[in-house]
């Protein structure tokens, strides 16, 4: 078992290290006023690229985490039912259009706002996921590291989107809502299976939302470069 975990960890580290290198530079330095870190000036385009990169990576890692979790904890019989639980992913009242045509009709502002909302809504649950996962027996370190990494990158992504909003839309400061309770009401579930299924649902929903973020940002980029069909 430990060999497997070690192998998985190694594989995950191998997979992610180039991304980690690229993402290590902070997105925006303007927030860190008074700090000694040297932040080079970054253009809007580059920032958008960096944000998109973040989104892509987050989606990738979330997909891997979900697969790993499903493989390890979710009984096979319940895997097929995953898609049945389409309702579990409760979106906010702030609807996000889901078809291409609709999305393409959204303005830039709305795109960015949508992304921001998504990111902000998932920061809390990911932290929660980290805590609950520790309770599982034999959870691989790779999975834990992935979830932890996702949490960190979500915060960075949020910062980047905020800056973008400011730059592109000249909007005022938008406070980051970390303490938001989020969409889900979490109670400690005594049943293990329930807990597993809930976490499983959480991961799948996050994966979907990460994909949303990515698509929205890419559409935004397309519009920015005036290269859109």
């Amino acid at each position: 078992m430990h060999m497997m975990t070690a192998l998985q960890r190694g594989a995950w580290a191998l997979l992610l290290w180039p991304y980690l290198l690229t993402v290590s530079i902070p997105l925006d330095c303007k927030e860190e006023q008074g700090s000694f870190s040297r932040c080079p000036y970054i253009s809007q385009e580059k920032l958008l690229d960096r944000v998109i990169q973040h989104a892509e990576l987050i989606y990738r890692v979330s997909e891997e985490s979900c697969s790993l979790f499903e493989e390890m904890f979710v009984p096979f019989s319940l895997q097929l039912q995953r898609n049945q639980a389409g309702y579990a992913c409760i979106t906010k009242a702030f609807p996000i259009p889901s078809s291409k045509s609709e999305i393409q009709q959204i303005s830039d502002k709305w795109l960015l706002h949508s992304v921001l909302i998504l990111v902000q809504s998932w920061i809390g649950p990911m932290v929660y996921l980290q805590t609950t996962m520790d309770h599982y027996d034999g959870v691989p370190d790779m999975l834990l590291n992935k979830t932890k990494w996702v949490s960190e990158k979500l915060i960075s992504l949020e910062q980047g989107v905020v800056v973008l909003l400011k730059k592109m839309l000249d909007e005022g400061m938008i406070t980051t809502t970390y303490s938001e309770q989020g969409l889900f009401q979490y109670e400690v579930q005594p049943d293990m299976l329930e807990s597993v299924m809930r976490d499983y649902t959480l991961l799948s929903c996050f994966k979907k939302d990460a994909h949303k973020m990515e698509v929205l940002l890419k559409l935004l980029k397309c519009r920015q470069t005036n290269n859109c069909p």
């Binding site: 898609n83 049945q84 045509s101 949303k212 559409l219 397309c222």
Partner: protein
């Protein structure tokens, strides 16, 4: 019983195996696994649902074993879009009955929302096994288009090459707009191989294939998928890559250059070796061609015009090492050839005037000798290195008296115009000498011949016989050395005749090595000349080499008094004078008075006590005549 139990166990095994097949983990939403693996009849079910561009999607169904449901419209498709809790089932927006397909256009397609598909019969009987998915999870992009390749480079050996393959994203997928992100995978294989080699997935629209082999044909195709999603789209059409090995002109050119430089370098090395005259290298590379050579004598002397020096050397006056050599290499040579040395300019004269000393002596017709002289004039023979030079031996010609007995070792100019060295084979020479003697004894020719006749005693046999061998060349003088010699002959009965002979042979310089065991001296020509004719000039240094039973005195002058020395005479020649007189005589034995007994070398009967073995092997070799080389074969 057993059979039924075994069949039931088999059925159980089948069920378990089918369940195992079912339990392979995979994407739950995308692959439509038919869960009805039991032998129950298969009802209508969805075979597949695919979206190509994440904008529309289609679903296909199969009526199953119920053939009455295959008619269009017998089965209806319903879907549920879970975008709100209050959504409900709707029927397929667009049927394509020919394909048994339900098509969802862009207006009806939403991503990130779960769809559930359901088949119902005409009377709303729902068939089990719904299919639920989200559209982005069933995306299978179209294959990339415009796949082509360009040659990047070929290895220096011409055996392998690299190829850059490039393509374009499928037009149906909106990659440029950011709607879809694609990653591509190229696979290639050799023409007739079965397994494909897959390269790493990447999102750029070009990739390099390294290490293809020339001469082989490769098949390449490509497919793509959305990153972090599971399903690949279909493969594109294959393209074929082949690079044939081109004969490399550069390599041929370099090979030629290498060859040229190698040859030039080799030639330069040879030149250097030749120029530097490194003796060892020269010996290795250019082994010397044997040239006329005498041991101990400078080859320069062997050329024409240097007879004096040669004579000097050979007589022992040179380095001093030669005297001991002479018998050695005489022993090595089975044949000693006689050289007739005739200056070319004088050849004619000589032959005219002295065509044959013997002839003149014997009053024989000249042309033959003339002939023979000519034939032998240029021959150079030396036991050391000559083996095939022209010899003047012609046993058929009886009139070879001109080729007389003198064994001259070296060619040289005749010291006098009147003198000539005749070279002759020993056998005929001996015969001739015998003849000559006979003839002279019998009152032979009136003419005096200016031939040198001399014999050299080269060795004394243990039995007492003396071995004669051709001695040094000798300057012949036109005087009476022969006569002197003749006068010195003590001989036996033929003395008287010999006197006459001597007189007649006044010009004949016939020298014999006289051995005087007592006196331990020898007579040279000079001595003989001195004895007989004082004015005759001695020829110093031209002493004969002789082997005496007693120490030899080197100075010929000391032996001036050896007039009395016994002469070598053919022993009982008269009895054998019917045979041609040989010029050489063999000392058969030494009698009690230390006088040499000579035996004429008869042709027919070999003298007694002489071993015959070496002589018989040689044709026309005078029997009884021993040459130094045969000494070794003799035994006392």
């Amino acid at each position: 019983m057993a059979v039924s139990s075994s069949s039931s166990s088999l059925l159980l095994l089948l069920l378990i195996s089918s369940l195992d097949w079912l339990s392979t983990p995979g994407s739950a939403s995308l692959i439509d696994r038919d869960q009805m693996t039991s032998p129950a009849p298969l009802g209508p079910h969805f075979t597949d649902c695919i979206s190509r561009d994440q904008v529309t999607f289609q679903c296909w169904w199969n009526p199953g074993d119920f053939h009455n449901l295959s008619a269009p419209g017998a089965v209806r498709v319903f879907y549920l879009k879970k975008d709100s809790p209050t959504s409900d089932w709707k029927e397929c927006p667009e049927y394509i009955h020919s394909n048994r397909e339900c098509y969802f256009d862009a207006n009806h397609t939403s991503i990130w929302i779960t769809y559930c598909m359901q088949l119902r019969s005409q009377n709303n009987v729902t068939y089990p096994n719904d299919k639920c998915f989200t559209v982005e999870n069933i995306v299978r992009p179209d294959p990339p288009v415009s796949l082509n390749w360009t040659l990047l480079n070929i290895s220096p050996s011409g055996l392998s090459y690299d190829v850059m393959v490039n393509w374009e994203s499928p037009p149906s997928a909106d990659v440029r707009g950011g709607w879809m992100r694609l990653e591509y995978q190229i696979q290639y294989r050799e023409r007739n191989a079965t397994n494909w080699e897959a390269l790493e997935m990447q999102q750029q629209t070009q990739q390099t294939i390294y290490g293809l082999h020339t001469g082989k044909e490769y098949e390449v195709h490509i497919h793509c998928r959305m990153p972090a999603f599971k399903d690949f789209g279909d493969f594109s059409e294959s393209i074929f890559i082949q690079v044939t090995k081109v004969p490399n002109k550069e390599s041929a050119l370099t090979l030629m250059l290498v060859l040229v430089f190698g040859v030039v370098g080799f030639l330069i090395v040879i030149m250097l070796v030749v120029i530097s005259q490194q003796h060892r290298l020269m010996m290795i590379l250019f082994p010397p061609v044997p040239a006329p050579k005498i041991k101990g004598i400078d080859p320069e002397l062997l050329k024409k015009g240097k007879l004096d020096e040669l004579n000097f050397i050979l007589s022992g006056g040179g380095m001093g090492g030669l005297p001991t050599y002479a018998p050695d290499f005489y022993q090595d040579e089975p044949w000693v050839e006689f050289i007739e040395v005739d200056a070319d300019a004088d050849a004619g004269e000589k032959e005219d005037n002295q065509s044959s000393d013997t002839q003149r002596l014997l009053a024989l017709p000249q042309p033959v000798s003339h002939h023979m002289n000519k034939g032998c004039s240029n021959a150079i023979s030396f036991p050391d290195d000559d083996s095939g030079r022209a010899s003047c031996y012609d046993p058929d010609l009886p009139d070879q008296d001109t080729l007389m007995l003198m064994g001259t070792l070296l060619p040289g100019q005749p010291e006098d115009e009147e003198a000539s060295f005749d070279v002759a084979e020993r056998a005929p020479a001996l015969e001739r000498s015998e003849r000559l003697l006979i003839q002279t004894q019998t009152g032979g020719p009136q003419t005096w011949v200016n031939t040198d006749f001399y014999a050299q005693v080269s060795n004394v046999m243990p039995s007492g016989g003396v071995v004669l061998s051709p001695g040094q060349q000798l300057r012949i003088q036109e005087n009476t050395s022969a006569t002197e010699v003749e006068t010195q002959k003590k001989g036996k009965e033929p003395e008287g005749s010999k006197d006459t002979e001597e007189k007649k042979q006044k010009e004949l310089q016939f020298q014999l090595l006289v051995v005087d065991p007592e006196r331990s001296g020898y007579t040279t020509e000079s001595n003989a000349q001195q004895i007989s004719t004082p004015p005759s000039s001695p020829i110093p240094g031209e002493g004969y080499q002789s082997i005496l039973p007693q120490p030899v005195e080197a100075k010929p002058a000391a032996t001036a008094e050896e007039n009395q020395s016994p002469y070598i005479l053919p022993d009982s020649p008269q009895s054998q004078f019917f045979a041609p007189v040989a010029d050489y005589t063999v000392v058969q034995e030494v009698d009690s008075q230390h006088s040499l007994l000579l035996n004429p070398p008869p042709r027919q009967s070999p003298p007694p006590c002489l071993p015959q073995h070496p002589l018989k092997a040689l044709p026309a070799m005078p029997i009884g005549y021993i040459t130094p080389d045969m000494l070794g074969n003799l035994s006392p």
